[in-house]
Symmetry: C2
Subunit: 136 residues, 2 copies
Amino acid sequence: MSDIEFRFRHTMMPVASIDRSAEFYTRLLGMQVVRLRREPDRGGRNIAYIGYGDEGTHPVLELIEGTGNHEETWSGHIAIAVSDLPTLVEKLKAADVKFAKPMTKPETGTNTYLAIIVDPDGNQIELNQRKGGIYS
Amino acid sequence: MSDIEFRFRHTMMPVASIDRSAEFYTRLLGMQVVRLRREPDRGGRNIAYIGYGDEGTHPVLELIEGTGNHEETWSGHIAIAVSDLPTLVEKLKAADVKFAKPMTKPETGTNTYLAIIVDPDGNQIELNQRKGGIYS
């Protein structure tokens, strides 16, 4: 694994309202809103990245709107930035790791490759290869 | 808030077996086991901290054994290191923030103060003031 680099990128937390959560975390816990986006493919869901510094160097919280109040089973996850996802995916497949989402090459956005694997306890782990490298 | 410093410290993930998870994350995702401990107060539960570097500077995953396979509702959480927890707690109380665990001063361990608050969606956020500061 020595040739592949990794970095924790975000922890996803489902929330009912981006505005309500952003206000809470910025006013009370010293965070900043780093980035806001909408995901048209998911019903225009709003997503906010908040934390204590730039996403390229600091881990952030990914707040996904419309998933809060724990009406459904928790679907939070960890995201790990990886320098060479195709090579890693070959290794993971050889180890019979389960994929919640097979590796894709998104046509838009900031990721060259994206995949979601399932760890031994059923936790989903997002793996992404960023166009600008693991510190971007 | 400018006088209080913060840092994401860990994301907790419940797991069924520390050994199984540590093997998975070190062998396949390039992590290292940073620290192992047992918590006698919680039935001798094993806890492992794993990640991509020293806990004092890098965020880690906290794997708590005996909570995996999602038999119960997810109880993962984010932990934030804070430079001055008593001051922050006063501010949080004034803002009517709910506490899952009021601030305590543990007699043993590496934290001077510890508290767990509940965010607007019910997510638990651990706040700790480390004896050695937020980078320790």
